[in-house]
Point group: D2
Chain length 375, copies 4
């Protein structure tokens, strides 16, 4: 098990789907950031079950409690512990899972690894674990916004075959929140919602793609060669339940271009070094170049379907399992705040690491004229 993420800004999540609750400890948060539960709760509400007709009806208010790390409404620089109680647990709904492995879930692999598992709601494998990530991400988002002028945003860009058209440079958080599927292309959103409602009725599920962006990141964040900015983003995204792929900038589509077509020319604009195109996705050589950072994350269709499926039981016999209970027909709308949270955690950690090695303290580097221009 490895439940800590980050190098200077470190988050440790804990908790199972059924049990006392789920939570997170943030270590290394800079001091004197204004912070109360009111900064956290809205993000948790975006992740919360029962928020709309296209997500799971499990009833969890997910009210966050800040247990430590703040004083007089400000961060202390000490560990921030936050948690929410589990309320609407129904262990009895999972009794069959005590003996049978759900297909394409992690029941079997946890059993193989640990020789024991909490089968109630999937235990630690439940997406409920992401509560801690979202709570921590809310802190990182605020830190990035207030201290660095960086905005992080994500949205649903594809559900199964329905692909949205979105202006990545200018789309707003308001536009994302304008509908319950969190796709800022209203027409596509309407079709996505209809699709999700249709598959729900059919007892089936669908997947899709989330787009994530960061605006205002200065040139210089990222720690090659192993902790390249895109490498840490890739890890963050592939650590999410149900994610199957990550691409930054031109991504898989970029392989169809030649080098002449793909390269991003440099030009001076407003006294800064800018790229004319942005196939690099705002990152070159693992370090931000001052352009918009953007990437896409693929999520598979939810594994819980309301049909009988073939599986094996814990005694090693072939059997079948009938899906039932509360579930998301599509994880995408609730994945949006989680993608934002992980993006913010990666960026805030890198901001601090850059500051640690190359920062202002006694260490400000005398820069070349261009570097000075970009500040």
């Amino acid at each position: 098990m490895a439940n800590t993420f980050g190098h200077l800004l470190r988050v440790t999540t804990w908790g199972e789907s059924h049990g006392g609750g789920v939570g997170v400890v943030i270590d290394g948060c800079p001091p004197r950031l204004a912070l109360t539960a009111a900064d956290i709760q809205p993000e948790l509400d975006r992740r919360r079950p029962g928020q709309s007709s296209i997500v799971t009806p499990r009833k969890e208010s997910d009210q966050v409690e800040i247990m430590s790390g703040t004083f007089g409404g400000q961060t202390l620089g000490t560990p921030i512990s936050m948690w929410v109680r589990n309320q609407d647990a129904r262990p009895e709904a999972y009794e069959e899972m005590a003996r049978k492995y759900r297909p394409s879930h992690a029941d079997y692999t946890y059993e193989a690894k640990f020789g024991i598992r909490n089968w109630q709601g999937g235990g630690r494998t439940s997406a409920r674990e992401t509560v801690g990530r979202v709570a921590a991400g809310a802190v990182a988002k605020k830190l990035l916004r207030e201290r660095y002028g960086v905005e992080v945003l994500a949205w649903v860009t594809q559900v199964q075959r329905i692909v949205a058209r979105v202006e990545v440079e200018t789309v707003t958080a308001q536009a994302v929140e304008a509908n319950m599927v969190r796709c800022p292309d209203a027409a596509a959103a309407a079709r996505m919602i209809r699709l999700i409602e249709r598959v729900r009725k059919a007892g089936d599920t669908v997947g899709g793609v989330v787009m994530g962006v960061a605006r205002g990141v200065p040139a210089g964040w990222g720690e090659p060669v192993f902790d390249r900015l895109e490498a840490d983003l890739a890890k963050a995204m592939l650590s999410l339940p149900a994610s199957k792929g990550f691409e930054v900038g031109s991504g898989f589509g970029g392989v169809l271009l030649t080098g002449r077509e793909h390269n991003d020319a440099f030009r001076m604009r407003d006294g800064r070094v800018r790229t004319v195109t942005n196939r690099s996705g705002g990152i070159q050589g693992g370090i931000s170049n001052g352009e918009l950072i953007y990437f896409r994350v693929a999520f598979k269709p939810v594994a819980t379907v309301m049909h009988e499926q073939e599986t094996v039981d814990v005694t090693g016999r072939d059997t079948t399992l009938q899906g039932r209970g509360r579930h998301d027909p599509c994880v995408l709308p609730r994945a949006v705040p989680v993608v934002e949270a992980m993006t913010a955690l990666v960026l805030a950690d890198h901001a601090m690491r850059h500051q640690g090695q190359c920062g202002d303290g006694g260490l400000r580097v005398a820069s070349s004229p261009v570097a000075q221009a970009i500040g």
Copy 2:
């Protein structure tokens, strides 16, 4: 900078394109593994420039020296230090780069981050840094093969629009090495080679996709929630120069299926729990399930093209830069051993971590019948 990778098996790479050389220190390698330079050199030869007519003609013999960590031909459990000298350095070929940023290279971002850069051959941003990864990966590959019965293999599955057809379960290392583009589909390989030769003549470049697999990984490797096996693979791959995307199992294509279509049913086969299909890519909930692990990595077209391109200079003026010198028209053939190396490093580290938490020592878990069956 972050030049160490891994948790129990840790590699630290060092070196610039032009300078004394490039190398690696492996820390944590298990003791008593038979190891000499002869185990390392063949992998370096696969990565070496000048190996064929479709890669850069830079002349580097890349002869590895093992400086520490072995005794009587066996590993000691102490750090293994390996390095190769730089021989065919031509700093004068890069003098223009001292003043101009190459488009879609990391010249500008290194300058912005550090206020200084080694412009000779790109310095640390050169893919020459991967020499250390491949040397370390050769050790990890041997460790996996001899101690765990795990085989790691990669190949070129796509160059621009040319897509190979390969039987992932059975393709052999010999088939991969049968041609200089390292694509085991002979017909596709021939077309890929013609394409690369054509773009080279045109002073242009192309990208593509590498497929990586691991066979024989037992159920149970992987450390959720953050160090999921696919998350660490994603980070490893996105830490490679020129990589732009990663997908595991069904990947981005999987979002077109519904949950019913996508799920991998479990069945008993030969006394083991197996999946009927393998859209999970051998990993469920971040932990290996005993099936074939497979993933794809996208590499962009090489940024160095033999044409004049727009850029800026270090004084902040718009200018142009004419590409010249030695370069790869396509990074894919040489990327194959690097993908294998990183895959092996991730898997060997996870094997050791699993052993540390759940291993045999005093800690063997009494397993359920199914877990026992899979041993």
Copy 3:
């Protein structure tokens, strides 16, 4: 801030003296260890304020809650989150400290570092933080005992000038707990108690030395060169509030001997390699040698005294501060379970790390005859 300790068995503590509570998350605990609150509470009771007439009268029942990581009374291998509420908080007793720095406390350094501090009870600098360490240490102690046959024990060996005589090889936990100062030399204990009562009445405080031992550690634990077993123990002990020194084996006294006098001869005994003397303290070259591990930790006198002392206030003016309120006249009796906890955490982590690199899995090393004999 760095609130995580350990490499494979990682603990993260959180919480301030006054606030919601204090707690800990244990990550990496092996699965299937029987564990309930009843395993934790006795250790917390040994650390608890108000337990006797020679410790602080602050009233905290310190009832632990396990929030995650167990199922059916066994560990899952997932993060174990535990916490206790703060009950007897009296923030008003500290209002003067909001404006004045207590001498030899951390008020000033926290202010200098963070520009903010929780002055209520010292906030994060309170020894109340060690609640999380003791709870985690209780798990590590049980793991060591049940899986490795290792016993960890500590006791008070010196209070100011009163030095106990204790047979380190055979002293029992029962003897340690036989009196409220936790010194197994009954005569010395009686004098220590009288001394502590006398200084308490005088409004003063005293320090002392805790001895820690580990029995049954097999040869082979420890990770040179930086994570030597004694190095990690030294760090663990110097991370405790009020500790000022650490010595292992012969320690500072060993410098008075010559090499001939100091060396530990090897002899075979009962088919095992043993040392005739044990000035090495059970560790040679950073690795356990199978003998008793023992070390001593110095704790300074508690900084809170019931007298007026010179200090400065937050506006930078000289002033005085009159000590008042509840305090320990001597930290030693309550430090004993904390020293045991940190010792157990270090050893359990090293057991797992050794297992990860050199363990049984596919990796058992063929040993020389002697190595085989010691198993």
Copy 4:
């Protein structure tokens, strides 16, 4: 094995006594620090064997080569790889050690841990490993001096029973280097040298104590609760070969005082918050308070003595071993630069970590008046 130390400034050492050489990779060094081999060599010369009549006569010139990480005489921010060749290796002198374990050496524990060891000169357990530490420490010392105005200094304060009297606030590096035992009390030094020469002739060895100080450290460095400044110093010192104890400030002697006697009163002096006494050793609550940091490290007598000793052989039989060959009669004079190196590495790492969490970048905290006064 764990051969990496540090969090933002990370050093990885490698190499055995006999083999290609010994070296180090420094990762995370800030860019644009002027650095050439001339900055490193003087420190290695202080550690070098054969430097005087009271150290081992092994002939090693220990000429350092910088292999990477600098350009035009400045650091790049990329990994700095440095190494020295082994020259005067005499493996034949150690053949008896292939079969017999030297008492109070690490031969046996390495065999028990790894099932294999390089018996030539002790392999990795040789103090020759500290070459890499000293080379890295030279970089850290320069960084501290030039970027932070911090000076690190150590000296021999005790050899067996001979104790020096030194003014810790004002003693200079020149005074330390004024004699070959590196004790700035000339009279004591003369006696120490005579003692060491006497024990050498007797085929015996002696130990002693090194004092380390850091001047100019600002208030605010240190990362409680686990990475307290004194905790990381303790770990660094106990990771050194032959070290047995560490104490900071009043240390073990401090337990003899009462709280009233021990406390360091605060007073304003020259507009800064100062302590009147310094029993805290410049660290309070794990964070520097702006006063002189000082600590003591105990080193045992060297284990290699020129006499017959009892031991066992690798087949598990009792036997004797006659010490012979080249050795140090006292490790203290050569330990001084190693203590300085580790001190510098700890402090530089903490400077960077503090900067990362609380630094100037966008993160400068608005300070209370006192905090502002101390800058």
